[in-house]
């Protein structure tokens, strides 16, 4: 019984995982701004903007008379390849691009190391991209193997290229929530699913 009381009180560690530039930080920022008024990190169009784990502790979310306290953990995007020349194409100078690439590789390693620490994970995918990438499958496969509850979010549904049906078809086992973290579209639906997710923890 005492154990139950402590479990109820504890902060739930909620991780944001996914490929680079899917909108993990944008979503984490949206949640943080909604409930604390502050942001968790900087977003950018250049991939691998988040290169270190970043947290926001004691984020209390009140939704339909339910209350949960989270530790939000925003992780660097997981990739199998990082080429500093890709950053040159984004307008970075050579030295800056090389530094970013080096930090990004460390970020991927760090993200994977943190998998075991999560109580629940939101996998953020870009709804405009092909969902059948091995990185997505590897992330979810690892969460399943570790018995960590997963919520799949398809971000950027405000864009014309977004294809929710394709994302849903790729993950028939999961409920997929289409959102736009940038504009706050379907955020209510996201919170609804988030509270359903935490029941599985």
């Amino acid at each position: 019984m005492l154990r139950g009381l402590f479990r109820k009180r504890k902060e739930l560690k909620l991780g944001f995982y996914g490929p680079p530039n899917a909108g993990k930080t944008s979503l984490a920022n949206r949640i943080c701004k909604d409930w604390t008024g502050e942001e968790i990190g900087v977003v950018s169009k250049i991939p691998h903007e988040t290169r270190h784990i970043q947290f926001k502790e004691k984020v209390e979310i009140n939704y339909k008379n339910k209350k949960m306290v989270f530790k939000l953990i925003d992780t660097p995007g997981i990739a199998t390849r990082i080429d500093y020349e890709d950053f040159l194409k984004c307008g970075l100078k050579e030295r800056e691009a090389q530094k970013r690439a080096k930090e990004a590789t460390q970020g991927v390693i760090e993200s994977i190391q943190w998998l075991d620490d999560m109580d629940a994970v939101v996998v953020v995918l870009d709804a405009t991209q092909n969902p059948y990438s091995q990185v997505n499958i590897t992330i979810i496969g690892n969460l399943v193997a570790r018995k960590i509850p997963v919520l799949i979010v398809a971000n950027k549904v405000d864009l014309k290229k977004a294809d929710m049906k394709k994302i849903e078809a790729a993950f028939p086992e999961y409920e997929v929530i289409g959102i736009s973290a940038k504009y706050g579209m379907n955020i209510e639906e996201f919170y609804e699913s988030l509270f359903k997710l935490v029941k599985k923890v």
Binding site: T80, S133, I137, T138, E173
Partner: protein, 127 residues
Amino acid sequence: MTKIAGLTIRFITYSEISRLSGADRIKKILDIVLENKIVILQGRLEPTEETSLIQSTMALVGRIKKFRGVELAVITPGQDQGVFDRFRSGLANAIARGREGLTIIGPATIVKQIKRDPSKVELMLRK
């Protein structure tokens, strides 16, 4: 071993790796990839081995000249029904992995992209 105009594909049978530890499997695969060869592995790695492979790959990017990482894809039976049908068809099967399916791993400097959808996998090579 197959050679097509400078491109080398190395097939690894399941029996070649089945008795190796996870770390040795990854080392074997990456050693071949670092020779600029594409590996086609019979079977699949465990989910945790896949992440270890990504971690080891990232540790090598920057340390080894011109190594930019890998392109990776796993083809599994029944994949056309959806990526996660294997989880639905049985978690034990999903986690056990084993010899079913094929794993393709190539150096990112040679393999530009592995395009996949439910019914096909295409290897796009760099010119």
